[in-house]
């Protein structure tokens, strides 16, 4: 590593270039790409795979992990869970290499001179966000992290989550490797979300690419992503940008910041507010426009996490948290090749079998 080590361990999102992408993981790369396209994203930095790799190399940690991995019998759930736990304990117990820790502390202080900025610390795996490896959310995310000590601690916790039992099984089943899968961690300013959720640039029910489907709830978006609540659901026609369907659900709690306790809390929503839409019509359209522009610039259907940041001015407070390629429908191959008649033959065909009969 040498004199330039710090630069290798940390890459601010806005400074990341394509060469950095392999070292900052899919999630952070996607944020960097969004920033480059002018999309508003909360500020932050990536702790690169180099940092993780150095941590593994210290004090024989890699060997410890490999030894446990070798003993795992995949079908034995209890055994796998126990060994997974041992691996994670080992990763967390191991002190972080000083150069890495120093870089993280400096990067956090650059974002937060007073050291009080709440951030989210998330894994940004190098395999996770690939279109053909849909195991999003298998690593941990830590919200409302405040202070550099805690940031360092949570970065390690993220690293450790690479070896939770579910992730180990998944990689084994998909032949992705274990110890050689590297991880980056993103540290990003917490959004003070008044509403948040997910937008997909196709209809996940049927793959219809003319739709943008938005799930939304009050507060932070995690309960929407994890399925802990039934979110409001909006269907927007992509080309005309019209809300064509909406289903407002009863949302009994919201995940919000507890600034004093430096954590998020589930807050009960007052009954009269539960059935209110979490987004205005204008906000729904803003989310749709954001998702549409991300799909356009990324060149394929996207799955976008977004939030309305209450700390920002009202008419310009939508931020993108992440955007990744949609993985289910995008890979479906068309079953048949259709043949279409045009000109008079096409007209004849339509007259003989008009649209109503086809519906």
């Amino acid at each position: 590593m040498g004199a330039n080590a710090a630069a290798s361990f940390i890459v601010p999102f806005e400074a990341a270039c394509a060469d950095d992408f392999p070292r900052i993981g899919g999630k952070c790369a996607s944020l960097a790409r969004m920033i480059a396209q002018g999309v508003r994203v909360p500020q932050g930095f990536a702790v690169t795979t180099d940092a993780y790799a150095l941590h593994l190399r210290s004090n024989g940690l890699a060997a410890t992990i490999s030894e446990r991995l070798a003993r795992i019998v995949l079908d034995d759930v209890d055994d796998e869970e126990r060994l997974s736990h041992e691996i994670r304990d080992a990763i967390v117990a191991q002190p972080m290499p000083a150069a890495v820790e120093q870089s993280i502390r400096e990067a956090y202080r650059r974002m937060s001179p007073d050291g009080q900025l709440p951030v989210a610390v998330r894994s940004s795996a190098t395999a996770e966000d690939l279109p053909d490896a849909s195991f999003a959310g298998q690593q941990d995310t830590y919200l409302w992290v405040v202070g550099e000590d805690v940031v360092v601690e949570k970065v390690k916790a993220c690293w450790a989550s690479l070896f939770n039992a579910r992730a180990i099984s998944y990689r084994a089943e998909n032949g992705l490797g274990q110890i050689d899968v590297l991880m980056s961690v993103g540290v990003q300013k917490m959004v003070n979300a008044s509403a948040a959720g997910v937008a997909m640039t196709l209809d996940p029910i049927n793959g219809d690419r003319t739709k943008i489907v938005i799930d939304s709830a009050f507060g932070l978006g995690e309960p929407v992503v994890s399925g802990e609540i039934t979110p409001d659901n909006f269907v927007v026609e992509k080309v005309l940008l019209q809300v064509i369907k909406q289903r407002i659900s009863e949302k009994d709690f919201e995940l919000v910041a507890d600034r004093a306790a430096r954590r998020t809390v589930e807050r009960v929503i007052a009954p009269e507010r539960r059935t209110l839409p979490s987004l205005t019509n204008a906000q729904v359209l803003a989310v749709a426009r954001l998702a549409k522009s991300l799909e356009r610039s990324m060149g394929c259907p996207q799955d976008v996490e977004w939030a309305i940041d209450a700390d920002l001015p009202e008419d310009d407070n939508l931020v993108a948290l992440q955007s990744r390629p949609e993985t289910v429908w995008s890979q479906k191959k068309k079953q048949t090749t259709a043949v279409y008649e045009t000109g008079i033959a096409g007209v004849l065909g339509t007259l003989l079998a008009p649209i109503q009969a086809k519906r």
Binding site: D208, R209, T210, K211, E237, K238, V239, L240, Q242, V243, I244, K245, N281, K334, T337, A338, Y340, E341, T342, G343, I344, A345, G346, V347, L348, G349, T350, L351, L352, A353, P354, I355, Q356, A357, K358, R359
Partner: protein, 602 residues
């Protein structure tokens, strides 16, 4: 729709009180004959209140006769549209009901090669044939314009004697009337020369897009083919130009008050006034041959005969210009939007569908200008001249003592007018009083009462048993009637606060309802109201600056209301079946032009 749901039989419908004897006002072949009850009740009929929203005066029935007959001939005899013949039509209680005639399945195949040859020729030579159409229609209008009805003189002109003509003046009078009817007949033949094919090609593109994107909004497909420079919008554009010119020349204040004559006199006194008057005069031919109605009624008011109407609109535009508003249609933005929508859908198509998309879109765009523009040439310009000529004839009868107002002529059907002409000439020739001045005044009074009584009862949306599924292409294309809309009509009566129709033009607004049943009531509309009408005509465009949304009883995505609303960016819900009869003036409505829902809030 439940299995038992059906519409009433025409034979079971009661005649509105006071309208007894209405049947005698119309020809026998337009009525449901008692002797044919079994056959007539075996057919499904829908009311065409899109084109004929109010009861026909006897003469006005000529519009439905000629229009729907000519529509049929092109399907049945010109192009041999394989699955579809024409549309049967009847008048009942003053409204017209339509029933499309399908071709027997075993005969469809034989028609295919003929259709391919005949319709194929039109599609391949569309632009050339359409240029020819334009010439024919203008010549026809010129022929109509040249017709002149002369009152009978005291004596046959001397030079007819010395020239050995050997005919009297009644001969020319009858001939001119017959010629007027024949030219009208020609007008409607021309009307359908391209229309059915135009709609069929559009439907092919429409159907293809629905196949690719099953939930694509109809309006998105429409937007891809819509024209930007459309003759139908020219009259309104001319008014905007005149308003801007008035402001520019500093004569706006002279125009703003008094009757038409007073305002024009004030303009002529103003410096620069002559320039504006010249422009005003030039715009009138042909663009003021434009009606606030739809051309199908003798009561339609054409601008050229009612200059107060265009002047009123110009005054509104001047007010808006003085407030600093932009009044022009945003044609560049419309063109850009059309390109954007087209390319975004194209990008979402599979590669193998792209060529078909380009081909079908290309044909749809070739044919669509006709669909949009013919309306000006036929319903507005041609019909303007025709109705004007008929009023001239009505005035001759009036002067001969047959009736009080020139327009009373329209209480006679077209055959009766010929009888009355003979009666007029007969009395003149014999040298004894004609019978008409004694016969017609009380008869016209009686007919006026019948008409008033018919107008008190709105039409049924449809008659008899609907088919399980509507597959007849022209029902869908021309009338926008689908299995869904029939279901809505049947279910409709149950829900009193919610109506649904077609999402014809996007946007959500709330406002007070203004129910307008005819063009004469347009003056009552106040700023910000929601227009609720059986149907709207595109010529209502100048009031579109005042209203916030439109709700109609009937009409599809391609109805005139829908086309104009999208141009003007107004939310519209069409084809609700019953909005104008179930919504009351002043009720608060929420109109969602993106979902097709109308909610009565209070």
């Amino acid at each position: 729709m439940t299995a038992h749901a059906k519409f009433p039989s025409p034979y079971d419908l009661k005649t509105p009180v006071g309208a007894e004897g209405w049947e005698k006002l119309y020809p026998y072949y337009l009525q449901f004959q008692n002797s044919l009850r079994d056959k007539e009740d075996g057919k499904f009929w829908f009311c065409d209140s899109q084109h004929w929203p109010s009861p026909f005066k006897p003469f006005d029935a000529v519009t439905v006769e000629f229009a729907v007959k000519c529509l049929g001939q092109y399907n049945t005899r010109h192009y041999l549209i394989p699955p579809a013949n024409g549309v049967e039509y009847r008048i009942h209680n003053g409204y017209c009901y339509m029933s499309p005639v399908a071709v027997a399945p075993e005969l469809i195949g034989d028609r295919v090669p003929h259709f391919m040859e005949r319709a194929g020729y039109y599609f391949q030579n569309w632009d050339r044939l359409l240029a020819n159409w334009d010439k024919k229609v203008r010549a026809n209008i010129a022929d109509l314009e040249a017709l002149s009805f002369e009152p009978l003189p005291d004596a046959v002109p001397l030079d007819w004697i010395t020239g050995g003509v050997g005919l009297d003046n009644t001969y020319a009078l009858t001939e001119t009337y017959d010629r007027a009817i024949q030219l009208l007949y020609k007008t409607w033949q021309y009307h359908f020369e391209f229309l059915n094919l135009g709609y069929a090609a559009y439907l092919d593109f429409f159907s293809f897009m629905k196949g690719q994107f099953p939930t694509i909004p109809d309006q998105a497909i429409a937007k891809m083919v819509q024209g930007v420079e459309v003759d139908l919008f020219r009259p309104d554009d001319e008014l905007k130009k005149l308003a801007k010119l008035a402001v520019k020349l500093g004569i706006a204040s002279a125009l703003k008050s008094g009757s038409v004559d007073e305002a024009l006199a004030a303009v002529s006194r103003a410096p620069n006034g002559a320039e504006w008057l010249k422009a005003w005069k030039e715009a009138q031919d042909p663009w003021f041959n434009f009606t606030s109605g739809n051309g199908f009624y003798s009561t339609d008011k054409y601008w050229i005969e009612h200059l107060d109407i265009p002047l009123g609109y110009i005054r509104d535009y001047i007010v808006r210009l003085e407030r600093g508003e932009e009044i022009d249609r945003p044609t560049e933005a419309i063109a850009r939007e059309r390109d954007r929508i087209t390319s975004e859908y194209a990008e979402m198509l599979d590669a193998d569908a792209r060529a078909a998309f380009e081909g079908k879109l290309g044909l749809a765009r070739t044919v669509f200008p006709y669909v949009e523009n013919h309306n000006f040439y036929i319903e507005h310009w041609s019909m303007s001249v025709f109705w004007r000529k008929m009023r001239e004839l009505g005035a001759i009868f009036r002067d001969a003592g047959f009736w009080k107002d020139a327009d009373d002529l329209f209480y006679l059907n077209r055959q009766e007018v010929r009888d009355a002409l003979f009666d007029y000439g007969n009395g003149w020739a014999v040298g004894a009083p004609a019978i008409g001045p004694t016969y017609w005044p009380p008869e016209i009074e009686r007919r006026k009462k019948i008409m008033a009584a018919l107008a008190t009862t709105p039409p049924q949306p449809a008659l008899n048993n609907p088919p399980d599924v509507i597959t007849e292409p022209f029902t869908i294309m021309l009338w926008g009637i689908t299995t869904e809309s029939i279901g809505r009509w049947l279910d409709g009566a149950a829900n009193t606060t919610k109506l649904s129709g077609m999402a014809a033009s996007p946007g959500i607004v709330e406002g007070r309802a203004r129910v307008v049943r005819s063009a004469d009531e347009l003056g009552q509309i106040e700023q910000g109201e929601i227009l609720v009408a059986p149907v709207t005509a595109p010529s209502w465009a100048p009031i579109f600056g005042k209203i916030n949304a439109i709700v109609t009883d009937i009409g599809g995505m391609m109805s005139h209301a829908a086309i104009v609303c999208r141009e003007y960016g107004l939310p519209a819900v069409t084809g609700t079946g019953r909005a104008s009869s179930s919504i009351k003036n002043g009720q608060m409505l929420r109109v969602n032009g993106s979902t097709g829902e109308v909610t009565i809030l209070s």
